[in-house]
């Protein structure tokens, strides 16, 4: 018994040490970013960033507050796109998944196949880009941030269909139908409330995808025509693109051109603003999020 408990303690200690180190490695970059954003810019350039600011300064945040028109607009665009996109995406996904969860519906297998096939084969970026920009003309409109790719994920449709099929008893539906409830009302009043856990999980995943998305803006918004639609991610991305452009074309990097670019600590402060809402909300959605991952990882 003595040996056993010693072994247990050894295992537990190793587990705690290793996990602690990994948790630390996961968090340290964030600490560095926040510390960088509170560092005096000249000190940062001369002596570099550190996990604790070498010379504390609020300059970067003062700049952000002065330029709040740009930052605030990007923030509100992010919120509009996230909320609007998530709601629209949930509506389309739930309705489609509910339809293909009807076991005897003629054409059900065809509809299911139509959802799954794009997971295996796709037209590629070029033709997707061509279709959205030259057929549907969504370039430099808000739809560019909502429609392409994100609106309905095949994976979520299948997860939701499985949920409807396994947890909603057909008997309840049949009984309600006998009572003469219309299908849409039945779905909204009975099926959706019973499916609250999966709707919350998929909505959460969707919201995170919209919040974090920068590719749609990269493809379908141009700085000139669509700059006013930039979300916070796109503002961060476009700052980088401009810096890269100048450093790759150094003859263009005149004093005037570089002056317009935010200094290194301001960039770090903007990045902090880009992830702050997620960090603040994380403790509240962590549980749902983990559930969503296990739902997706283990196929039913």
């Amino acid at each position: 018994m003595q040996v056993k408990s010693f072994e247990n303690i050894a295992w537990k200690s190793v587990a705690h040490i290793v996990l602690f180190l990994f948790a630390l490695a996961a968090v340290l970059p964030f600490v560095l970013l926040v510390s960088a954003s509170f560092t005096d810019n000249q000190t940062a350039v001369a002596q570099g960033f550190a996990f604790i600011p070498k010379k504390f300064s609020l300059d970067a945040y003062n700049y952000v507050v002065r330029e709040w028109r740009t930052v605030g607009r990007a923030y509100s665009m992010t919120f509009i796109v996230t909320v609007g996109g998530t709601l629209l995406s949930l509506a389309v996904t739930c309705l489609f998944a509910y339809a293909i969860s009807q076991r005897d519906m003629p054409g059900r297998n065809l509809l299911t196949l139509l959802v799954i096939f794009p997971m295996l084969f796709n037209g590629g970026l070029v033709s997707t880009y061509y279709v959205w920009s030259s057929v549907f003309h969504i370039k430099n409109t808000i739809w560019a941030l909502i429609l392409p790719n994100l609106l309905m994920s095949a994976f979520n449709v299948i997860l939701m269909r499985n949920y409807f099929q396994t947890t909603i008893s057909p008997n309840i539906l049949e009984a309600a139908r006998i009572d003469g409830i219309g299908e849409l009302k039945l779905f909204l009043a009975i099926v959706l409330p019973l499916s609250a856990p999966i709707v919350a999980t998929i909505g959460l995943m969707g919201a995170l995808a919209y919040w974090n998305d920068w590719t749609n803006g990269l493809y379908y918004l141009t700085e000139r025509g669509g700059g006013h639609l930039y979300t916070i991610q796109l503002v961060l991305n476009s700052i980088n693109e401009n810096i890269n452009y100048l450093s790759n074309n150094s003859q263009l990097a005149t004093a005037a051109a570089t002056q317009n670019l935010p200094s290194t600590t301001i960039r770090m402060a903007l990045a902090v603003l880009g992830l702050l809402p997620i960090l603040l909300a994380y403790p509240f959605f962590q549980k749902h999020f983990v559930k969503g991952i296990t739902l997706g990882g283990v196929k039913e």
Partner: protein, 340 residues
């Protein structure tokens, strides 16, 4: 049936649940339904569901199926004035150009080798962490570790770009200032030195995704019955033996499925990782450019629709073959885990 249909709406549902078995049997002999129901009647009964599926169906057509038709772009000399179908045919010219250049080999090699590295390192680490996590008994400690290790998974690659830059920036970066300079060496121009990037990219990818795969394996470990471990303890098996003889064999199905799935997707790379983290820096292309980044750069930077779409179609077709083969392999090993 008729009786509780007239009852109060709240009690109705409840009683309906209790009596449904009876209801259906009554309904089953109803002459309107049953065998006499024609296809048209059935379709009409399902009309509301077709309408519900319509928005999703339209979206699939616009977002997925129309672009599939757009694959012809790869076989055309695309001219925007003439549109896709008015443009001149190019045959396999675009593909010839692509494969005649060094690019095709380079981007294929990068995509496949990085995916293999992510797969081996990611899977090993995720399983090791999941096993250790299952040893942590305290609820709070376990939740805390999980949340923190999962944190990087929540943020976008744009933000990761900034985080990495705080370490690697030539002037203000932490590594040059706090490690390289004190050693008396010249600062390293990270974004111009390609020899470091295979390591940097593997670290970044693992850092961001390890929490996700750890949680998947942890849920698989948690579903193992405690009885096995208790029996093994009574038999005097050591912890290490238990892990080797019980845990690993029992999470093997999950491991095999996930591995085969990743092999099926080995031709696809995470655009964000390879585009954002190296900051699309030209000197690094030979070790950082994957198929997805190449397609993007050819399309958006050089407006080279021919090369870009040829590379995209090459990816789609080989990717499709790989996914189908991977799935065939899964269903051979265990039918339940097959995707379709």
């Amino acid at each position: 049936m008729v009786v509780f249909a007239r009852e109060h709406p709240l009690t109705r549902v409840k009683s309906a649940v209790l009596f449904t078995r009876v209801d259906i049997s009554i309904f089953g002999i109803c002459p309107e339904r049953g065998s006499a129901m024609t296809a048209i009647k059935k379709a009409r009964r399902y009309m509301p569901f077709y309408i519900m599926a319509l928005p999703g169906l339209i979206y699939l057509l616009c977002n997925n199926y129309l672009p599939m038709a757009g694959i012809v772009i790869a076989f055309k000399h695309l001219n925007f004035q003439k549109g896709i179908f008015g443009s001149d045919w190019a045959g396999f010219d675009n593909f010839k150009f692509l494969f005649a250049s060094n690019n095709a080999f380079r981007i294929t090699r990068n995509t496949i080798l990085y995916n293999l590295a992510f797969l081996v390192i990611g899977t090993t680490l995720a399983i090791a962490l999941a096993i250790l996590m299952s040893e942590v008994q305290g609820k709070i400690a376990s939740r805390l570790y999980q949340s923190l290790i999962l944190l990087p998974f929540l943020i976008s690659w744009v933000i990761v770009n900034y985080l990495v830059n705080a370490f690697l920036a030539a002037d203000s970066g932490l590594i040059n200032n706090s490690i390289i300079k004190p050693m008396g060496k010249a600062p390293i121009m990270w974004y111009n030195s390609k020899q470091y990037w295979p390591f940097i990219l593997v670290i970044c990818s693992t850092w961001k995704s390890i929490g996700y795969s750890m949680i998947i394996y942890l849920s698989s470990i948690m579903s193992i019955s405690q009885d096995y471990y208790e029996a093994a303890t009574i038999d005097g098996a050591s912890k290490f033996q238990q892990v080797k003889q019980i845990t690993v064999p029992l999470i093997k199905p999950a491991m095999i499925t996930l591995t085969i799935l990743s092999i099926g997707r080995i031709f696809y790379s995470d655009f964000g990782l390879f585009y954002q983290v190296p900051r699309n820096s030209g000197p690094l292309y030979s070790v950082t450019q994957t198929i997805d980044v190449y397609v993007y750069n050819a399309l958006m930077r050089n407006s080279d629709f021919g090369m870009s779409s040829a590379a995209g179609v090459y990816q789609s077709i080989v990717g499709f073959v790989l996914i189908i083969s991977a799935n065939a392999l899964i269903s051979k090993i265990s039918k339940d885990n097959a995707l379709f």
